[in-house]
Symmetry: C2
Subunit: 125 residues, 2 copies
């Protein structure tokens, strides 16, 4: 049994944890970031994202739709046309995501250096 203070603290952290877990799987952040450049159709999005499989892109998009980050607009022409775009919530979310992406771009050299140093330590450790 935890003290009330700790309980509150832990509950808040668990909440952050759940939300963070909901958005930080392998592809979600990347998809949000790509859609931040503009709406895209399924296969165009897939090409932009890179090596994602259809199945995983579909489920990632469904989850993003469920969380209210992206909208899915079907135009019943032939061939079918399904456009994915960020919602207001998704665009707001883009701000911290871009912060993350920019940090990654700015610091990838440091990350690579750290990996190299680790490999050296491990290599002749």
């Amino acid at each position: 049994m935890l003290k009330p203070d700790n309980q509150e603290h832990t509950a808040a952290c668990a909440h952050i944890g759940r939300m963070l877990a909901r958005i930080s799987d392998k592809w979600t952040l990347l998809v949000v970031q790509v859609l931040g450049r503009g709406p895209l159709r399924f296969n165009a999005l897939r090409r932009e994202v890179g090596e994602i499989s259809q199945k995983v892109l579909a489920s990632t998009l469904r989850e993003l739709e469920e969380n209210g980050f992206v909208s899915r607009t079907v135009t019943p022409v032939t061939p079918p046309q399904v456009e994915y775009a960020l919602t207001d919530l998704g665009r707001d979310f883009l701000e911290p995501v871009r912060g993350l992406a920019e940090w990654v771009v700015a610091n990838s050299a440091r990350m690579d250096a750290a990996r190299a140093a680790y490999a050296r330590r491990r290599g002749h450790g």
Copy 2:
């Protein structure tokens, strides 16, 4: 074959993607966020993070160490004592991660509302 412009563009995105993928698994961001409050030993960290298994926490920490975000300090006493702490790089990384966490805290109501709306649409759709 892509045009040079696109190739450059795609290469940069792939790079962001790789880096983003490296840090955005289920637990990494959360562990970084928790360690941002101060160094912790393995089991203390595990209790703070919540429902993570030992195996996954161990591998998450190894990867964070590999990327240069956390340091691992072993004190050879008995029982063994292993302290994990953010490095300079990890502390720098904390800034965008906190941005994300704060956004999540500030907008969790909107996320929940979107989920509820989606469930309603699906419920009697």
